[in-house]
């Protein structure tokens, strides 16, 4: 097959590309330039996530012995991922931009362009496994290394996307990937994993949003996101904050409430009201969720009308047994084990054993 290997400059995608070559594919490496670089005075200039990442990817391609190019998808990324991220926070929700990027950029814009240029598949360094099921459909399963499993952020992929994807690392542990990278002479073998959102440089989401939101939604609207922190039980105003986007449902740290609750128990964010700017806090038991409704469902294969399986409600989160009922454009999830602190905007990914069934964006919880 002609395979396009998306190379971030990290160790995983480098080894994935090398394995695609070993598997006999005709591989071309690309690095996606996703972030705009407003610092540069050359108008229209764009950087990569960093120039070093781009260079690391290029050097890995050299070592593997494949052609390498940089594709500029910064406009698409900005529209489909960054602006969505800002809008979701402004609406009081907690988005997951990595899922969005997989759905809209890596396995959409990049995949479609690759297919158009004559490639058969896109290979990435995600930890997930693909196999052909008894019905001939491609199934996606959790990776062997459960600690690194990334099937959650791939839960948005449909059958067409899965059919043209390769995840060569799904059967390997991260440690083994690093060892293999060293053995192959890839200089990124020891490069630390990335954790934060790629376009928020220092992991400070609230600081980034404080700076960028006024331009996106208008400074008046941005100011309205400031407001009171209210005790949901007593109605007492406990303090003020300068933007609802600094909070997520279930958050405990960083509330900066001067005094403890009368019962001495910690308080958590229960609700975010972006119109009034009010953030409601209260005890943990009030975060208990039994039922979720999801919108924008995406199914990997056939649509399950009713399924008893499990759901994962945040990246690296626990699995909850659940009964999932799908309608055309909505999903109802009844949790058989309660969950706590579930934030609208996050994805609910549905599993049947290790198999990913599909996903939906959490709209409401009860």
């Amino acid at each position: 097959m002609k395979v396009l290997a998306a190379m971030s400059g990290g160790v995983d995608s480098a080894v994935a590309a090398a394995r695609a070559v070993d598997a006999g594919h005709d591989v071309t490496g690309i690095h996606l330039a996703l972030s705009r670089n407003p610092q540069s005075y050359r108008s229209g200039a764009r950087g990569c996530c960093t120039i070093e990442d781009s260079n690391d990817a290029r050097r890995a391609a050299d070592v593997i012995g494949i052609p390498f190019y940089v594709w500029d998808l910064s406009d698409r990324f900005h529209q489909d991922v960054v602006e969505d991220f800002m809008d979701e926070y402004a609406a009081g929700r907690t988005p997951n931009p990595c899922l969005r990027c997989n759905e809209k950029i890596k396995f959409a814009a990049v995949l479609e362009r690759a297919l158009g240029l004559g490639f058969d598949a896109v290979a990435t360094g995600h930890y997930a496994r693909l196999r052909t099921g008894p019905d001939g459909l491609i199934e996606m399963h959790r990776a062997v290394d459960h600690g690194k499993d990334q099937s959650y952020v791939l839960g948005v992929l449909d059958q067409h996307q899965l059919r043209h994807s390769l995840f060569p690392l799904g059967d390997t542990t991260k440690d083994a990937v690093r060892a293999e990278a060293a053995e192959r002479g890839l200089l990124v073998a020891d490069k630390p994993d990335s954790h934060d959102i790629c376009f928020v440089a220092d992991g400070d989401n609230a600081g980034w949003l404080r700076e960028k939101l006024p331009e996106r939604i208008g400074s008046d609207r941005a100011r309205q996101l400031a407001g009171e922190i209210v005790d949901d039980t007593t109605g007492e105003v406990l303090g003020r904050h300068d933007g609802t986007y600094a909070f997520t449902i279930g958050q405990r740290r960083g509330l900066r409430i001067g005094r403890p609750a009368p019962d001495g128990k910690p308080r958590f964010v229960l609700d975010i009201e972006p119109v009034s700017g009010t953030v409601r806090v209260g005890p943990r038991e009030r975060l208990r969720v039994q039922r979720l409704s999801g919108i924008r469902p995406r199914w990997c294969g056939s649509v399950p009308r009713r399924l008893e399986g499990t759901v994962q409600l945040r990246a690296h989160g626990a699995e909850h047994r659940a009964v999932v009922t799908a309608a055309d454009d909505a999903v109802d999830i009844e949790l058989l084990e309660p969950a706590y602190g579930i934030a609208p905007g996050q994805a609910a990914v549905v599993y049947d054993g290790t198999r990913v069934v599909g996903s939906a964006t959490i709209a409401t919880t009860a």
């Binding site: 050359r42 940089v70 158009g116």
Partner: protein, 394 residues
């Protein structure tokens, strides 16, 4: 798969005679600034090279200042002349240039604007990338006393359009304003005569004319004062410091001499190949179009080896990748260090929108190009364009 190299404007292969000259001096010891016999021998090589270049370019040997290449020479001219002219008269803070210069000129200009109080005025160009002479005249004549420098490239590196240097010099010289020209694409491709042109400073570089990388020259009239950028031994007229690169300089001289001598024949041969390339590519892709000066124009001329072609509804970088996979090497514009394709500032200045700027390829022919190279491109371009169409990451 043999490589079809159509990117000579990025860099062109070294001439065998230049390789020979370079190799001959690589094993020699001797710093040209040393006083002993080995030093004198090296100095002799450097000075003979300087004289060779002076003969080829029609300047005096003392006017040849060796540099590490085009960017070094451009920075030296732009910043160095600005500083010395402003030091002579504090009113001189304006620098006039064009919107289509190479970044080696544009970026030092912007830097002067941001850090040295320079007022940078970029004169617009027309849809063929030729500068608007009347706009340049108006800019100069608005307040000639305040102009430190005029810098206009001899030939554009992307679309190949030759600029009216003679008219630029006439406008500036009337007010005693020095003119610098970046001629890295022009030397060896079109006639370039330093003294006759009337420019005060001219940039050339080795690797664009069959010489080595990392060596070039700023030819600068001895009457022009240039404040140095880097301070040190002052080896080159106290304008530029650094131990002289004897093998590189020897090879540069051979390449300049040969390329200037062969220029008329080269221009005719390569120009004919280029015309053939443009006509036959457009035969294969009827809505493709040539950017820059038309092939048959008498008054507006372009570099003989340059064909810059727009392919509507294609991403230039998709085309480049597909051609590369077939062994055909070209460019989407000037190469970018980060490898991130950006819409060309030259095409935008010519009035193209971002979409048009992104669907272009630059094919540049050089001294090793053959009719077989053109045949190979003509064979592949049709299917490649068809493939690239409709795959845009819009």
């Amino acid at each position: 798969m043999s490589t079809v190299y159509l990117d000579h404007a990025a860099t062109t292969p070294m001439r065998p005679a230049a390789i020979e000259a370079m190799a001959a001096h690589l094993a020699d010891v001797g710093n040209p600034s040393s006083l002993h016999a080995s030093g004198r021998h090296a100095r002799r090589v450097v000075e003979e090279s300087r004289e060779t270049i002076a003969r080829a370019m029609n300047c005096r040997p003392v006017e040849v200042v060796f540099t590490s290449g085009g960017t070094d020479a451009d920075n030296l001219a732009v910043k160095g002349i600005y500083w010395s002219r402003r030091a002579q008269d504090a009113r001189r803070t304006r620098v006039i240039s064009t919107t289509v210069e190479h970044h080696a000129v544009l970026d030092p200009l912007h830097w002067l604007g941001e850090h040295e109080g320079a007022e940078v005025e970029l004169v617009p160009v027309d849809d063929r990338a030729r500068l608007d002479v009347e706009a340049l005249r108006a800019a100069v004549e608005r307040d000639p006393e305040s102009v430190a420098l005029v810098t206009v490239m001899w030939a554009n590196n992307e679309v190949g359009t030759l600029q009216p240097i003679e008219e630029v010099v006439a406008i500036a010289a009337a007010h005693g304003i020095p003119v610098h020209t970046d001629a890295v694409q022009a030397v060896g491709a079109v006639p370039v005569d330093f003294a006759a042109s009337g420019v005060d400073a001219l940039t050339l570089t080795g690797h664009k004319l069959g010489g080595p990388y990392g060596v070039g020259a700023l030819i600068v009239r001895r009457e022009v004062e240039v404040t140095p950028l880097a301070h040190g031994g002052g080896q080159e007229r106290d304008i530029r410091s650094g131990t002289l690169d004897t093998p590189g300089i020897a090879a540069l001289a051979v390449a300049v001499e040969l390329s200037v001598k062969e220029q008329p024949a080269h221009a005719e041969r390569v120009g004919a190949l280029r015309d053939d390339l443009v006509r036959r590519v457009i035969e294969q892709v009827p809505d493709a179009h040539l950017h820059g000066a038309p092939l048959d124009s008498e008054e507006l001329r372009r570099l003989p080896g340059n064909a810059h072609i727009g392919f509507p509804d294609c991403e230039g970088d998709s085309l480049l990748m597909l051609l590369d996979a077939r062994g055909i090497e070209c460019s989407t514009g000037s190469a970018c260090s980060a490898g991130v394709p950006q819409p060309s500032h030259v095409l935008l200045a010519m009035g193209c929108d971002e979409e048009q700027a992104r669907h272009s390829l630059r094919f540049t022919l050089g001294h090793t190009s053959t009719a077989a190279d053109v045949d190979a491109l003509v064979r592949e371009i049709g299917p490649v364009v068809e493939r690239a169409r409709g795959t845009k990451a819009s």
